[in-house]
Amino acid sequence: MNTAKYDKTPKEQILYASMLFYGCWGGLALMAITYLIYVFGVMDPHVSMETVTEVWSKPVHEYLTVGSVPVGWGWSTLLNKGDFLNFLGIALLAGMTLVCYIPLVIAYLKKKDPLFAAIAVAEILVLAFAASGIVGGGAH
């Protein structure tokens, strides 16, 4: 019934939309659940609530020092802590775009559109670079 109005929408765009839909709402649901686990104290936090509210008015380096908070992907080693468990949902949200781009490359190659396939590959590299945490240490 509804397909008629989407007839002119390219297939790869529909695929991207579907992946984004499930990833986004999955990420938001995960975020809400892990947050409730955190604030209701089901799992102990790495940085106590009192410390967080003391240092969140100061620059990030103080939060990192006082709370012994890791940078980069260090959070993934602290998933047994209530506060860092929240990063699962956040990372899923932040990672969705990168994941959605992968089938785009294949779709554009199949359509013999090497320019857009190359643009999609370049975007994946840019997002992967940002996510990798390779470059850092600039925070004051």
Binding site: Q13, C24, W56, V60, D83, L93, V126, A139, H140
Partner: protein
């Protein structure tokens, strides 16, 4: 013939508003400090109020912000960053991290519907997104490396510029594009969409693609540096400069944020600038507020709210400028 004096009048009015915003925020620094102190006292920044009040206050505040943002036709991030950094005790580092996630979540949620209806075009978005997202990484590092007062100063100037842009920009529903330029043609920046109100199938193409793409370098840097989202800049460039129909420009801009803000958000995340206790209620509050805002659109008076938001942006921009100047 009458367009020029009209434009001059609007520009003069905008300049007066800019000056008024500065004077207002500057002369009323005492009032602003009192206001912030009241918020602090209320919310517990320097008080003994329990930590759990914070998520509730942020959820409520961002819920209202989400409603206002939809009614005023602006993104959540552009209101969140200046207001929360100006009137809450969180450091700008954490506000920008949360602001990017707020803008990102909203863009990701809107993306699927826009893409399915062809109101966001991958052909238009992909080349632009590559430039903007790469530059957003640079902007994020610049923002984190610069002294806070410099960032505050630039943020204040940007917020005031956005307020004036909202006041003066005249988007065109269906710009006339006589001939597509070579770059737009090579990138296949064209498409069709169905106008729901009339059922008309509208085809579109772009022109002035190169200056448009170059402007996304600046937009990307600003998005990453301030954590604002960049819909306020995307729409005029896509619509007025490149000639995309307004609906496609708005839809593609929203979708574009999901890519641009992703790269900047990872930088802030990796640098430790995301504190879940404050970021998550902000995201959820703003998203819930946006859903309510969409329903209220039918009965509200968006024009009044738009002017109110412009006023709020001028004030909070002025306040950020004053903070940056140490006043």
């Amino acid at each position: 013939m009458r367009a020029k004096p009209m434009r001059t009048t609007i520009l003069v009015a905008a300049a007066c508003l800019l000056a008024a915003g500065l004077v207002w925020a500057g002369a009323d620094a005492g009032m602003a400090v009192e206001g912030a102190a009241a918020v602090n006292a209320m919310t517990g920044a320097q008080s003994d109020m329990a930590w759990w009040m914070w998520p509730i206050i942020l959820l409520g505040f961002c819920f209202i912000l989400g409603i206002i943002a939809v009614l005023a036709g602006v993104g959540g991030g552009v209101l969140f960053v200046p207001l929360v950094s100006g009137f809450f005790p969180f450091h700008l580092d954490f506000v920008r991290g949360a602001g990017l996630l707020v803008a990102l979540a909203g863009a990701l949620a809107a993306g699927p519907g826009l893409l399915r209806r062809n109101l966001a075009s991958l052909r238009l978005a992909l080349p632009v997104a590559l430039i903007a997202s790469a530059c957003a990484i640079v902007g994020a590092f610049m923002g984190l490396a610069l002294p806070t007062n410099v960032v505050q100063l630039c943020l204040g100037g940007t917020i005031m510029f956005i307020a004036i842009l909202l006041l003066t920009s005249k988007n065109v529903v269906r710009p006339h594009v006589e001939k597509q330029d070579a770059i737009g043609l090579a990138l296949g920046m064209n498409g069709v969409y169905t106008e729901p109100s009339t059922g008309e199938v509208i085809s579109w193409k772009t022109h002035r693609t190169l200056p448009g793409l170059l402007l996304f370098i600046v937009i990307g840097i600003m998005a990453g540096m301030f954590g604002l989202g960049a819909g306020w800049a995307n729409v005029p460039v896509l619509n007025i400069l490149m000639g995309a129909p307004l609906k496609v420009a708005v839809g593609t801009s929203k979708f574009l944020l999901s890519i641009t803000d992703t790269s900047a958000a990872w930088v802030y995340l990796n640098q430790g600038c995301v504190i879940p206790l404050m970021a998550i209620p902000s995201i959820i509050g703003l998203m819930l507020g946006s859903f309510v805002g969409v329903r209220l659109l039918a009965v509200a008076k968006p024009k009044f709210i738009r002017y109110m938001v412009i006023g709020v942006l001028l004030f909070s921009g002025g306040r950020a400028l004053m903070k940056g100047l140490g006043m």
